[in-house]
Symmetry: C2
Subunit: 221 residues, 2 copies
Amino acid sequence: MSPNFSIAEENYIKSIYNLQQVNDAVSTTALAEHLKSKPASITDMLKKLQAKGLLLYNPYKTFRLSKEGIKAALSIIRRHRLWESFLVHKLQFSWEEVHEVAEELEHVRSKKLIDKLDGFLGYPKFDPHGDPIPDTNGKINIQQQLPLSSLPLNKQAIITAVQDQSSELLSFLSSLKIVIGTRLEIKRRLAFDNSLEIKCRNRQPVNISEQVANAIQVNPL
Amino acid sequence: MSPNFSIAEENYIKSIYNLQQVNDAVSTTALAEHLKSKPASITDMLKKLQAKGLLLYNPYKTFRLSKEGIKAALSIIRRHRLWESFLVHKLQFSWEEVHEVAEELEHVRSKKLIDKLDGFLGYPKFDPHGDPIPDTNGKINIQQQLPLSSLPLNKQAIITAVQDQSSELLSFLSSLKIVIGTRLEIKRRLAFDNSLEIKCRNRQPVNISEQVANAIQVNPL
DNA sequence: AATAATTTTTAGGCAAACCTAAAAAAAATA
DNA sequence: TATTTTTTTTAGGTTTGCCTAAAAATTATT
Ligand SMILES: [Mn+2]
Ligand SMILES: [Mn+2]
Ligand SMILES: [Mn+2]
Ligand SMILES: [Mn+2]
């Protein structure tokens, strides 16, 4: 059946998947930073993943997940996002607290557990950060979205997702009442620092930095 | 705050706790069998646990958990039994399937997660096998019970727990409709093999072996 | 009490997953 | 293109948790 990966291997597979979504070519250093480890450790693991057929790897050049590797990544991501949904909707965690706990829960490898959890939650399509949840066959609907920083001025859009790396960012957005589904538009863009003045229906406009605008994904109306 | 133990350490602590409940003196070989490893590996870990102050250890003689070690064990057992309850009552697992999955879930170390899960389940006092669940402070109510094999003839009793090591045993009992709360009495004891003929109210009597009777805990009425 | 059997520990090794420092390759710059 | 800088890999080492085989201690038997 489906092979069993170690926790370390799973964390590598998921990180590589996430990085290659953004940038087709993943680098050893980028992955080391993402995983808070050292480049030499990355190389060790790249060789192991290649040996297991999960990675297409040209030493000194590029690497990316094989078909097999992507399948494994989607299964881990499914677990991660379902647990996040459970924590928020059943245990009343707030959206910025769940990532860390899900980072551990995702490694409990029982297909039956995850499929039952999915049903218990009512087969959610998105996690609390707006990211799509792969179904039991690993099918994922990547939604059409762009970073808020690329949205034209005065164009209405709905927030579809927020990159959930940092819980600080998520609680900051919560405090501004900026959540998944919030409708907004950009009123002004400062050339000086690329910060944005954004306006939600019947609310005071607020200013956000370029970095924050990059982390927010929107779907233009 | 509370120190963090590795998964291996947690499994050792829990096994030692369980063994010393039955038999005050735990032996290296017994622990090795319980953990499906080798005596030499046990000795390695005993030294580590002693160094961390979790174990009172006299080489070549006996060992048992320190106060600190018992506290750690109860916390792991709390997690294990709450997850088992979740799996049975929320995800409709059957009682013989849950042990294996809970064996992994128990290692997710987040006090907040477990306390919220406890509330979500309605602060259950017992797990699906009838074993008491320690509360958030580690307090556990050990119920007055004895193995069915020690129950006198013709004395009514209620099943309070079943030792859950083997899922085979649990599904066997399910098929006989013998579950937690079932009221029964022993009608006959065969000296030949110590097997028992047991009778539940308005049901046909059934025969069970000495080993099965040892695994069933009862509370005499 | 001496010997035999059993249990436990020690000695030495291995694999996984990390690390630092050095070497090699690739990319950037002059 | 030659040189410098940056990136990546290799070499060698550590810790954790496991193993087998041998030695030591304990317990059982004569
Ligand atoms: Mn993880
Ligand atoms: Mn998420
Ligand atoms: Mn376990
Ligand atoms: Mn149980």
